[in-house]
Amino acid sequence: MAEGIDPLELMPVSRMARPLRALLRGWAGVVLGFLYLPIAFMVLFSFGESRTPGLPFRGPTLHWYQEMLSNGVLMEAVWTSIQLAAVATTLSTLIGTMAAFPLVRSGFRSAGAARIVFTLPIMLPGALIGIALLIFFRRALGVDLSFWTVVMGHIVFTMPFVVLIVSARLQGFDRNLEWAAADLGASPARAMRHVVLPLIAPAIVAGALISVTLSIDEFVITFFTVGPQSTLPTYIYTQIKFGVTPEVNAVATVLLLGTVLLLGLAWAAAGQARRLSRIFGRRRARERIG
């Protein structure tokens, strides 16, 4: 928009260019509407007064949000989801970060292939992973489904994202910085702590945040691997069997807000890389002096 001139305005390639462009714009609008209109209605209805959501809209009211907070079963599902996300994220961030190092650095010929194998679960259908895990836990290991089986299930699909993000950051990491640290008297462990980890911290944080959002939202794999407890998505699913209540809309709206917030944070973490590195580096540096 800098020059304010659309090249198509200056160069009518054909007589059809103008109407075609208008048509494409309209089409883009339709696609956007298709993507976001349902979500917009869901958010809108969560503020509606009517018990059976629909038009015309009456409200707004926070009634369904109060209802949501006083629903013990729902709150328990939320709490399970939070614990699940916390444990799964911690483990997948740890394992994923450690896996990224040999993938980027060992320099073995099949590093590219290894990366594909590591990140393949991103592309596999959730149902497939879910069924495979279910069979594995029940038939191969012979264990009952529980909180820990669902944690494993979540690690399977969140860890690849951590591997992907952290190894991208490691790829661009200047090895000279490690040499410089060693040159200045840092043992490999201290070079890792004072130089490498602070510099890849933004990627680790971004990976962890994405892992949290994925875990909180995940339905399919949870459904196959979870024990007697319900998580937020499985609770919503069971509720919907009895019809979509505005309460479910309220829960989903909160979930949406949380997800957007976490993704925003992950994005900011990547953008504020230097500041984050400094925070991580500094705390460690102070430890040393003190």
């Binding site: 000279n176 040499w179 060693a182 040159d183 200045l184 008297g185 043992s187 004072h194 230097r274 590195s277």
Partner: protein, 370 residues
């Protein structure tokens, strides 16, 4: 003799089948400003990385201050490096960068602060304590890298083309600065460059490298006026090469050149087929030599070029073209040279200023060095 700061004995580094360094032996004395000079890919960085401990030797021996350090990891070696791309820690301020090496040495915080101030002052960056590397110019980053490496007071400072990324003016300025800092701290400097002028002007000694070997090492003067072979002579400045046969006749030796002319040769010329080298600035051009005993060739001036501080005169003689570089001042001298074009003249030099160089393979040269 005292213990040298660095000693390489037959140091060899092989990558697969390619030899990055081939039996290099060097002795660098304490307090020297030692330059590794050579074309791209000749093994300068490899040599520095071996000394720094970043890559292991394939065979041979490396001693720092008399101690064999082949298997010592870099963080235990008493040497520090200024990397070509500076390798400043981007998440630390200037102050934290310089303090890093001191912290790793577990120096007290008081002593650390004093040292940081001292070395930032040495490189003229007192006012930049809290800047991040990204907020500094290339020249300033270079100075931080220097202060960071020197603050540990290493026995040897390694510098890998530290001025390579700077523009010409800043480069000249930093050359002067580096020389001053070297005098001030007295540390041994091992300096890598592929700029012959930089090496000549700064080094106490130079090792000229080619294809993983040290072809010649010596003082700048030595290397400039008495290169061992055509490669060194060509790499360092412009030269006139004359092919001929050296003849010893009693106390006098001379070289019979192509075209039937003869010139007096340096006293140590070995009889036989030789290449005589003389630097352009040693050659005078005029009607005839002013004194006796000069080596002299007559010919026709085919080119005169004004190149700023000098005039470059090319004389075509039966033995080949001779280039003479003459200083001039504005006015009479330069116009006198201009008028030489197409004239029959003499080009002459003192036999002491010429030298016999080898022109064979590097194998031959190594034999001469052993």
């Amino acid at each position: 003799m005292s213990v040298p700061a660095i000693e390489l004995v037959d140091a060899t580094k092989r990558y697969g089948t390619s030899m990055a360094l081939d039996r290099v032996s060097l002795r660098i004395e304490r307090g020297e400003f030692f330059c590794l000079l050579g074309p791209s890919g000749c093994g300068k960085t490899t040599t520095l990385n071996l000394i720094g401990g970043f890559i292991p030797l394939t065979s041979g021996e490396l001693r720092i201050e008399g101690q064999r350090v082949n298997d010592m990891p870099p963080h235990k070696r008493n040497v520090n490096t200024v990397f070509q791309n500076y390798a400043l820690f981007p998440h630390m301020t200037v102050e934290e960068n310089v303090a890093f090496g001191l912290r790793m040495a577990r120096l007290g915080s008081g002593e650390t602060a004093t040292r940081v101030d001292e070395y930032l002052a040495l490189v003229g960056l007192e006012a930049f304590h809290d800047r991040l590397p990204a907020q500094l110019s290339g020249g300033q980053q270079q100075r931080v890298a220097l202060a960071r490496a020197l603050a540990r007071r290493p026995a040897v400072l390694l510098l890998d083309e530290p001025l390579g990324a700077l523009d010409l003016k800043l480069r000249k300025q930093m050359q002067v600065e580096l020389a001053r800092i070297h005098r001030q701290v007295g540390t041994t400097f091992v300096f890598v460059t592929h700029d012959q002028e930089e090496a000549l002007s700064m080094a106490t000694r130079i090792a000229v490298m080619s294809a993983g070997r040290v072809v010649q090492s010596g003082t700048p003067r030595d290397i400039y006026y008495h290169p061992v072979d055509r490669f060194v002579a060509d790499f360092i400045g412009e030269s006139n090469f004359l092919e001929g046969v050296a003849v010893r006749d009693g106390a006098r030796s001379y070289v019979r050149l192509g075209g039937g002319s003869t010139v007096d040769a340096p006293a140590d010329a070995p009889p036989g087929s030789v290449t005589l080298m003389v630097r352009p600035e040693s050659v005078s051009v005029g009607p005839a030599p002013a004194t006796n005993g000069e080596a002299s060739l007559s010919g026709r001036v085919i080119h005169v070029a004004f190149i700023g501080n000098h005039t470059r005169v090319t004389v075509r003689t039966p033995a080949g073209d001779i280039v003479a570089l003459r200083p001039h001042s504005e006015g009479s001298a330069s116009s006198a040279l201009d008028e030489l074009l197409d004239q029959e003249v003499c080009a002459w030099w003192s036999p002491r200023d010429s030298t016999i160089v080898a022109h064979g393979s590097t194998e031959k040269i190594d034999e001469r060095l052993v």
